[in-house]
Symmetry: D2
Subunit: 277 residues, 4 copies
């Protein structure tokens, strides 16, 4: 599948998160430990919010992240207070820029690890459920992008947890109608540039791994020697497919069937249940 990382906190040089940690996302592109595949070399993407526009920049390319110099250049020179990074292991759809995460719609970004089971069998029916106006904006052929546009159709911009739950409910109903026992497997991150939501769910209740970082304050006291922690602000939060290194005390598993939101008014987690469609 894939690996991803979402950061929210004080502005930080992307490099400090993307490249410097021991088991960084870039390292995971070659040597993922907890994914279905150890290699995530089928493209990558980086999306970040700056200070001058509310729309994020999204840079995506089709080669492996580990050898991509442009990614390294950007990471070494761009600072952001909210960014997504994703490395892809294709589950069958083409290796092309429009299939790389994150996907963007207006000020929103979406990225995904997982799959809609037997996607080719349900793709057309799910595509028909997308709002016709939104349908025009679909550029690629992945299940992930389609999930985004279904969530947008179901009101993502107003109520993300509800919209994602309705999307999941639709995917499950259509899958079941096609005799697919476990239609959905997902860890999703979505943001509007202010708040960041992360979802962990699968029909089988055996979801891909997802972790959030411990409060930076706590971490710094545990690991006073680590440079990249010193650069992180107190309220900084990382959500990752798998831990960036083996830092004791640093990473907490997001429970099964749960979503969390990182926001100025305080982070919180809640249960996640698809809304039957």
């Amino acid at each position: 599948m894939c690996r991803w990382l979402a950061y929210s906190g004080a502005p930080i040089l992307l490099d400090g998160i993307l490249y410097k940690p021991a088991h960084s996302l870039i390292d995971q592109s070659l040597h993922a430990k907890m994914g279905v595949e150890t290699t995530n070399g089928d493209g990558f993407g980086l999306g970040w919010y700056g200070t001058h526009t509310i729309t994020p920049a999204v840079v995506r390319d089709i080669g492996p992240a580990w050898s991509n110099r442009n990614l390294q250049e950007i990471a070494g020179h761009v600072r952001s207070s909210l960014f997504f990074a994703h490395i892809r292991a294709s589950t069958g759809t083409s290796v092309q820029q429009t299939n790389c995460h994150p996907f963007r719609h207006g000020r929103w970004m979406w990225m995904h690890n997982g799959a809609i089971a037997e996607f080719h069998r349900v793709r057309r029916e799910l595509a028909l459920a997308v709002d016709p106006e939104l349908y025009l904006a679909i550029e690629g052929s992945t299940d992930s992008e389609l999930m985004f546009y279904l969530a947008l159709t179901f009101g993502l911009e107003e109520d993300p947890p509800e919209a994602v739950a309705r999307m999941a409910g639709l995917v499950e109903r259509v899958g079941h109608e096609h005799g697919i026992e476990f239609p959905l497997q997902m860890t999703v991150a979505v943001t509007d540039g202010q708040r960041l939501w992360a979802f962990r769910y699968s029909s089988q209740r055996a979801s891909r791994s997802l972790f959030y970082s411990t409060r930076v304050e706590t971490l710094r006291s545990l690991h006073p020697d680590l440079e990249f922690l010193r650069e992180m602000s107190d309220e900084a939060r990382l959500i990752v497919s798998e831990p960036l290194g083996n830092l004791p005390g640093a990473w907490n598993a997001v429970p099964e069937s749960t979503y969390g939101v990182v926001q100025p008014e305080g982070d919180r987690m809640d249960g996640f249940t698809p809304v039957p469609a």
Copy 2:
């Protein structure tokens, strides 16, 4: 738009047709004379039939043809009796491999120059008209590939002229329903590996240019000095978006609203009229 070339005849090294003529297709990628755009640098494709399988090989890439070494290597070492080559100038959809021509389905290949007018407005409705089983095979986001799958839906494998006419009729009906005056502009080549059909049509009756080559026998007597003519068999036929060089007597315009078929039992041309959908 784009430029394309289709060859049918005795097996020939692709290079002799693709690179050697004075105003070759590769030259047209930089300096097209009759197209809407002089530069066709948004990807290319090459499809050829060999002697061991009935399915053609299709090689496509996203950079300009003029600098692509792999294309040159293949053209310099592969011989074929029936091949398509296409250079793309995107009319808006992504520059990605799955948007490059020719498109293939089973033993069939399809390539196109032109556009469905205001494609984004009619794309969803046209996509819905594709046979659900065929829909699964659509990989890219172009109007050209969608036209192919509509034609397949309408029986391309049984009666190409009829299927293309029904496709054109549907595109025109849907376009007109959206208030689009001239919905379709196309020159299309399609083949099953045995016969080769070419269509020139536009709703406005102002279609992109299309030419077929004069009988090789005649050409050779006109131009006894030209090497690439000596390598071509008597029955060889080229259909091209614009002439390969200024060879007097070599190229004949396909008339407006016309299709032609190149086949063992003798080539012929006929009028083309969309079948109202």
Copy 3:
């Protein structure tokens, strides 16, 4: 050959210079007017200085600039007070990232339009003249990068005009020894992040075009309606291979055999003569 653009001034969104002007550099990638080639589609590069490091970021890719989404994303989200942009038309060497401009060494950047005549004949001898320590850093196969490393060998970091003059002198001597009448054709931009030098020279005294922008203050009074001028600071200066649009009064040709420097202590121009090697 190529086209390039260098900006120095108050921090500005790159997009305002790269994409918005009528005949922007991106437009020139498809439709250059004053170059040897109208198409500059063999790769591109962008180098910019940020606020947190003295080393510039350099992003380069091998496809045409006109269709590159990542370039557009970066340009739409990155601000800089000093940046280079380059679009390439290969004069024969490979289309690959390491042959794209700008080239970087430490805090220095270099870009070039032109050619060393019959480069293959003199390449080895010129390469031998590069300082062995610097030689290790050469990654590509262009004349442009080799010129950069020769200039570095000759003291670019201490005295750029002198070092470039010695480089030019060496190229001319070696060329003449090989019977090449006019060994060098160049417009070069080079910067250390503080000052920006631009050189226009050719052995034949028929150099590629080079222009610098009129004082912004003057321009704004001439063209009060132009948005991108309002975003530029008074001291902002553009140096370009060809004018960005037909703005009357905006562009001044750099004279033959001349170099200029843009710097805080005041811009100035001076004659350029190679130092015989």
Copy 4:
């Protein structure tokens, strides 16, 4: 490092060797078992001899082999009696087409797994030892290509084992002069289209793995059920970095410090010792 494969025998569809075996070279691009790296995703190359020219076709690209559709298309449609395939894991030099193997010079092809130790320190001196006429043809920045041009300088076209031994001797002498204990690590394949030589050597006498296939006749009797063996001719020979699957009896290690030649007059092996330079 890398993995490679060389085939010599009756003409065969490349696909049968490249993709169909259980642990094919394509599978090794993701899951190599005996290499230093398990992932070989930094480009690939394919070179084959056809029936109409003595110069081989060489197709190379920079993405991973495992997801490259063009490679699959070519492999599925091209037959050859002698071909090389290579998947790359960069040891530091750029991921670019000109750094992908095989390298070609006239009718000769060369590919390599291994490295010149501390290449950056000896690169310039080794480059100077290349015949100036040949030097012009070097396009990339790898140690592998430089080894090829050194071997050409030392008479590869007349006596391959002698030329490779002299190249190895030079690399060792220059390395030792720079205080490098074990300057060379290599498995090399080289061919002129008629004969195929393979070398296994390292200064440390701990060379990368290299295997040759058992006589096909013998293999077929051992494994009468295997389709790809039925398609291979009696005299067919494969030389591979690591076995294609676990077929008992199929693969024989090339001994340390040994080279072999596959040729019409009978294959043979002999010891390999660098010629002191």
